[in-house]
């Protein structure tokens, strides 16, 4: 069953018409015990059909061990967004941007913007933030728990993705709380967005750029 209706497809097509470099959506799914895995594949295929710059790769969580390890996938469905670093697509870069669960609802905005950022090669962060991110010299993992009906959540997800784009040591993962209930329980997610940085820093709410940055710098 298709996911995107014609009107949404039309807007997405316009939005994606500005893409410059190629982008790859890498989708991890499994056949059993994953009620939304089929939707994940459909969504990726529909996106690829809307822009010549988007291609997809599909892997099975249980079988394709190499890829699962390479992208540090520990749940399905999960999407990694990687981008070509030049116009001939001879090299690809993993910016550490992942979406776990279906990025529907308000998160579709985050998903589209992540694709756009990776293709255009611009995080649109302020120079001050970019400079501060350069000083980070240890791995930073940002988990952003969301629900698909939360209008605040994309602000947090998009900022985390921008941070990940700027520094290879930073990774960002949107996690759909209603899909991964055990994980939401483990991290006591009772309000979204809930952000967990390197397991030790946790907070709720979408902070502006400078305050979110300060949390990362203190991790």
């Amino acid at each position: 069953m298709p996911l995107l209706d014609d009107k949404v497809k039309e807007s997405v097509k316009t939005l994606l018409s500005v893409l410059t470099r190629n982008v790859k959506l890498i989708v991890f799914t499994q056949e059993k015990e994953c009620s939304t895995c089929m939707d994940a594949i459909v969504l990726a295929e529909e996106m690829a059909a809307l822009s010549g710059k988007i291609s997809i790769e599909k892997y099975d969580f249980g079988i394709d061990k190499n890829k699962t390890d390479q992208f540090k996938i520990d749940k399905v469905p999960s999407f990694a967004i990687i981008g070509a670093t030049d116009s001939s697509s001879s090299q690809w870069k993993d910016y550490g941007i992942k979406f776990s669960g279906i990025p529907a609802g308000y998160e579709f905005t985050s998903f589209l913007n992540a694709i756009k950022m990776v293709s255009l090669g611009n995080s649109e962060l302020s120079q001050k933030t970019k400079d501060a991110l350069k000083t980070i010299n240890k791995p930073i993992n940002i988990k952003i728990f969301v629900t698909l009906t939360c209008p605040y959540c994309p602000t947090a997800v998009m900022l985390a993705n921008r941070f990940a784009f700027e520094n290879d040591l930073i990774s960002a993962e949107m996690i759909e709380s209603a899909e991964f209930t055990d994980l939401a329980k483990k991290y006591n997610v009772y309000g979204v967005p809930k952000i967990v940085i390197n397991e030790n820093i946790q907070f709720e709410g979408a902070l502006p750029e400078d305050l979110f940055l300060a949390k990362i710098l203190s991790a």
């Binding site: 629900t147 209008p151 009772y190 309000g191």
Partner: protein, 323 residues
């Protein structure tokens, strides 16, 4: 809720500039601010819309049945339509801003958003309202840990859990409806002797067999350390105390105006709503206000839209006078 796919909102609109002097800056992009934007740009005013989010309270509303032209429309869809309408015009948009405030300078106004300032000849304040806090022990400490003001956002996190909704108006009843498909039990606790919300909502809630309504009672404490564990409820008539164990507290006790934007500048009533005349003029020439942030008694989408149009046309007349 039906699955939907939200497409980003800054496709066609231009970025703001700190260097120029806009004809008008509109603060807030709920129904009032968005309508004002359309009217300003149709008058060819150089317009900057500065806002925390796009849509305002409408985005928090599941369904609307009293906006003319639609027998039923979801809040998200209506705000999407409003947005599509402003996108048709050449306005600048600055969104996701932190708290900004208004300053009056000689012959112009500045909107100060921390690091950056934007300048204009006139201003329309349309910053609306936000949820009122209950003001009890545990509320601030447990915010995001079971205490919430956003039922559309957080309802899915309370699957098979016990929750309480504090309040008795339409927002409280809408929150209850958002929660019916998730929570195992819903307490609705109201300080008054009855619920003030619409009968249609009440029927839905009663039919779910999940709700227990506790009237004439107030929550005196929200308990928990890492997360919400329970509440203390006191009956105002009998003074009887009841302890309830639960996982979530949804606070829906009314709204307060976002008038801090214009603090110490404009005349306000006791509730901190901006006082305006029937043409949306405030106590300072060149500053206009509209929608829920004003002292206009009724707070509805259609009213906010109408007031937004009036504020824009008043600003236009003011600018003709000074140009």
């Amino acid at each position: 809720m039906d699955i939907f796919f939200e497409v980003p909102k800054d496709v066609k609109i231009t970025s703001p500039s700190t260097d120029k002097l806009y004809d008008v800056i509109i603060a807030g992009s709920g129904p009032a601010g968005m309508t004002a934007s359309v009217y300003c740009s149709r008058k060819k005013l150089d317009t900057l819309l500065i806002t925390k989010d796009v849509g305002g309270q409408v985005v928090w509303t599941s369904g609307i049945e009293n906006y003319m032209g639609y027998q039923y429309i979801t809040g998200r869809d209506l705000s999407e339509k409003f947005y599509q309408q402003i996108e048709q015009f050449p306005i600048s948009l600055l969104k996701d801003v932190g708290p900004c405030h208004l300053e009056k300078l000689e012959n112009k106004f500045a909107v100060n958003c921390g690091e950056k300032k934007y300048y204009s000849k006139s201003v329309i304040v349309a910053t609306g309202k936000r949820n009122r806090e209950l003001g009890v022990n545990g509320e601030k400490e447990l915010l995001g840990r079971g205490v919430t003001y956003c039922s559309v956002c957080d309802a899915p996190l309370f699957k098979d859990k016990i929750v309480a909704i504090i309040g008795g108006g339409n927002s409280a009843l809408t929150a209850a409806i958002d929660l019916i498909s998730y929570a195992s039990k819903i307490f609705i606790i109201n300080i008054l002797d009855n619920l003030q919300g619409d009968e249609v909502f009440l029927d839905k809630i009663k039919n779910s067999n999940k709700a227990e309504i506790i009237l004439s009672s107030e929550v005196s404490k929200i308990k928990g350390t890492e997360k919400v564990e329970g509440i203390t409820v006191k009956n105002r008539k009998t003074s009887q105390i009841r302890e309830i164990e639960l996982d979530g507290v949804f606070i829906e006790v009314g709204l307060m105006p976002n008038s801090e934007f214009a603090n110490n500048l404009l005349n306000m009533n006791d509730q901190k709503e901006i006082v305006v005349d029937c043409n949306c003029k405030t106590s300072i020439d060149g500053i206009f206000a509209c929608g829920d942030v004003t002292a206009v008694l009724d707070k509805q989408i259609i009213i906010a839209c109408g007031e937004g149009a009036k504020a824009a046309l008043s600003a236009y007349r003011y600018l003709l006078g000074i140009k």
